[in-house]
Amino acid sequence: MSASKKWLPILFASLMVFVLAACSGGDSGDGGGSNGGDKITLWAPFSGPDGPKMKEIVDEYNDSQEDYNINLQIVPQSEYYKTVDLAVNGEKNMPEMMVMHGDQIISYANKDVLKNLGDIVGDTVEEDAYHEKGWENATVDGELYGVPLDIHPLMFYWNKDLFEEAGLDPDFPPTNREEFVEYAKKLTDKDKQQYGFVVPTLWPQQFIFPTIVSQNGGELYADGEAQFTSEPVQEALQFQLDLIQKHNVSPADVQQDGEVTLFVQGKNAMHLNGPWMMQQWEDSGINYGVAPVPQLGTEQEAVFANSHNFVIPESVSDEKVEGITDFLTYVSENGMAWAESGQAPAAKATYESDEFQEMKQQPEAAKQFDNAVFSPKVENWGQISDPLYNAINEVLLGQKDVQDALEDAQKQADERLQ
C-alpha cells in the first residue's frame, strides 16, 4: 500500500508533464525540424486530408533553404475564423501569415487587419504566375490583399454505373439544361427509389444557386442592393422546383445532406458539390465521374467558386514579408502536393503541368477557372443572403410559392442592408 502511495505523485507529475508537452506541442513539434531560420508562423484551416499535403509543402520548403523556418499550425475549419477573430481582437498571438477564403477577405480588409499586397505582387511574386481569377477573388475595391493558393468551383459528379443501366454513355456527362433534364428523366426509377438528380434544400445551395443565377445572366447583388426578385433569380429557383414537381427527377422533402447519402448509396445519379467531397466518393467505392458543371441556366457558362489565399496581417514586419514572399514563390512552383489533396492550385506552374493534367478531378476544376464567379464583394453577405437561402429551402420543400418567398427574402435583405 505504501508503495502505491509513493507512485501516485510520480504518476500525477508525469501526467502533468505529458499534458503540458501536448499543449506546447503546437509550437515546437509542427515546424518539421527547425532549420535555424527566421521563424514564420502560418495558420491554416486544413484539418481534413488536405492538412498533411500542406505540411508536405512546408517541410520541403524548410529543407530547401536555411533563411526562413515556416511553422504550420492547423486550426479546425469550424473553429478557424473564430480563432483568427479572437487573435485579432486580443491584438496578440497573431501569425505572420494565414490562409483565408476569398469571400472572407473583405471583412478583414475593411477593418485594416490585412496588409495591402499591391507592392509585393509584381515585384517578387509574379502576377503572371497565377490564374487571373485567383487575383480577382483576393481583391477588394481594386486593392489586393492575398496571394491565391487554389480556386475551388462547384463540380459535377455522376454515377457511371447508373448511366450505363439507363442506356447512357457513362463517359459523356450532360453539358446543358436539355441534356441534363433528359438524362435525369432516364436515370429516374421511382420503383427502385432511384433518382436522376436529387435537389438539395440546404447546403450546398450556397454554391449551386449562385451558379445557376450567373448562368441565367443574373446577379444576386448589384448596385448596392440584393436582386432576389429579379427574373434570373426567379428562373433559377423555378427550374430547381420543376426538377422536383414537374420533371419528377428528385424526391421531395430532401433533408440536410440527403442528396449526399443517396449519391453514396448509388440512388442519386447526378450530383453537384465542391471538390472537397472527392475523398468521400473514393471511400464509398462508387463508380463516379467528375466534370465541369453543365450549363443549367439559360444564358451562359458560369460556375460559382471560392478560393484559398495566403494573407499577411498588417502588423508583420518587412523582414518577415521577405521570407513570406520567398515561401509563396516556392509554393507557386512546387504546388503539386496541394493538387494531390483534390484541389486545383491557382499557380500556372502547377495546373498547366502534365502531371496535373493526368489527375482525375483536379484538371476538371481547373477547366472551370475561366468561368468562375465569386461571392459579391459586400460585407456581411452571409447575413444578407441568409433570408434567400431560407426562401429556397421553403420553396424546394413545397411550403411556399416562388414569388412570395423571394419577395419576403428581398424585404428582409433590404432591412439588413440599411
Binding site: D85, K111, P251, Q255, Q256, L262, N393
Partner: protein, 302 residues
C-alpha cells in the same frame, strides 16, 4: 484558535472550486455584461461605449436584431415546452421501470439507458439523421414496407420538432433516470410497509408516498431540464439546419451567428444576457410554484 484554524482548512477545501467558479463563470459573466454595453466589433480596435443601445435594439420591433432574438426565443420556448415534461416524466417512468426489475437486470438496464448521455451531440445528430432520412432512412424504410407514406421527419412541421425532441429524449433522459432512481431508493421502506398494512394499492403508494418523498429531487430535475432545454443548439443546428425555413432556428444559433459570423460581440452579449435573465425568471417561477404547492400539500396532510 481551534475554530479559526478549522475554518481556514475548510476555506482551503473550497478554494479549488472557488478558483474555477471565478475564472470560468463569474469573470466571463461580468466581462459579458461589460461587452454588452459597447459596440464591440471583433475586428475593430475601436469599441465605443454605447450604454443600453444594444438592449434597446433588441426591443425595437423594426430592427433586425429584435426579429433575430424574438423568433429565436419563440422557437426555443417551443422546444422547452415540448421537451421538459417528457424529459421529467419519461425519466421518472424509466426509473420506476428499472427499479422494479430483478436486481440482476437492474444494473444492465441502468447502463443501457444512460449510455447515450455520454455520447457527443454530433454523433447523436448523425445517428438520428440516418434513422430519419426521408428518402433513405431506416424508419421511413420500415414505414413504406408496412404500406404507409414516407414521413418528412426533418423537413416539415410538426415532424421537425418531434424529431428534435425525440433525439434529445434519447440522448439525455438517462441522466434524469439515474437521479430519479437514487431518489426512489432514498424513500424509507417502512412507509411502504405501513401502507401495505393499510391495504393501499400500487397507485396510491405512488401518489401518496413516492411522489411527495421525491418532490425536492423532482424540482431539481425540472429546473435542470428546463435550463438544459433552453440551451438547445447542437440538435437543430446539425439535424435541420434551422429549417424548414427558419422554424427551428433557436436562440443560441442566432447568438452564435451574431457573435462569430457578424463579429458583433456587443449585441450578441446583450442577447445572451437577456436570455440568461429569462432563464433565471423561469427557474424562480418554477421554484415558487413548486413551493406553494408543497405548502398546500402540507396543509392538506394535516
Amino acid at each position: 484558535m481551534n475554530t479559526r484554524k478549522s475554518s481556514f482548512t475548510s476555506a482551503l477545501f473550497v478554494l479549488p472550486y472557488f478558483i474555477m467558479f471565478m475564472t470560468f463563470l463569474v469573470v466571463p459573466l461580468v466581462y459579458g455584461v461589460y461587452i454588452s454595453f459597447h459596440e464591440w466589433d471583433l475586428l475593430s480596435s475601436d469599441r465605443p461605449l454605447v450604454g443600453l443601445k444594444n438592449y434597446i435594439a433588441l426591443f425595437n420591433p423594426d430592427s433586425y436584431l429584435s426579429s433575430l432574438f424574438f423568433e429565436g426565443l419563440w422557437n426555443t420556448f417551443q422546444f422547452v415546452i415540448y421537451s421538459v415534461p417528457l424529459l421529467v416524466f419519461l425519466g421518472l417512468g424509466l426509473a420506476l421501470l428499472v427499479n422494479s426489475l430483478p436486481a440482476k437486470l437492474r444494473g444492465y438496464f441502468r447502463t443501457f439507458y444512460f449510455i447515450p448521455y455520454s455520447i457527443s451531440v454530433s454523433v447523436i445528430a448523425i445517428i438520428w439523421l440516418w434513422l430519419l432520412d426521408t428518402n433513405s432512412g431506416l424508419i421511413n424504410n420500415y414505414l413504406v414496407k408496412m404500406g404507409f407514406d414516407p414521413i418528412p421527419w426533418l423537413t416539415s412541421m410538426p415532424y421537425a420538432w418531434i424529431s428534435i425532441v425525440a433525439a434529445t429524449l434519447w440522448w439525455t433522459v438517462g441522466f434524469n433516470m439515474i437521479i430519479f432512481i437514487n431518489a426512489l431508493n432514498e424513500v424509507p421502506g417502512d412507509l411502504y410497509e405501513a401502507s401495505a398494512i393499510d391495504g393501499a394499492s400500487a397507485w396510491q403508494n405512488f401518489i401518496h408516498i413516492t411522489l411527495p418523498s421525491i418532490r425536492p429531487i423532482m424540482l431539481f430535475v425540472v429546473i435542470t431540464s428546463t435550463i438544459a432545454s433552453f440551451n438547445i443548439y447542437g440538435q437543430p443546428y446539425l439535424m435541420t439546419g434551422g429549417g424548414p425555413g427558419d422554424s427551428t432556428e433557436v436562440l443560441l444559433m442566432g447568438i452564435v451567428e451574431q457573435a462569430f459570423e457578424q463579429r458583433q460581440l456587443g449585441s450578441a452579449s446583450a442577447m445572451a444576457i437577456v436570455m440568461a435573465l429569462i432563464m433565471i425568471v423561469v427557474s424562480i417561477i418554477q421554484f415558487k410554484v413548486s413551493n406553494s404547492t408543497k405548502k398546500r400539500g402540507a396543509n392538506h396532510a394535516e
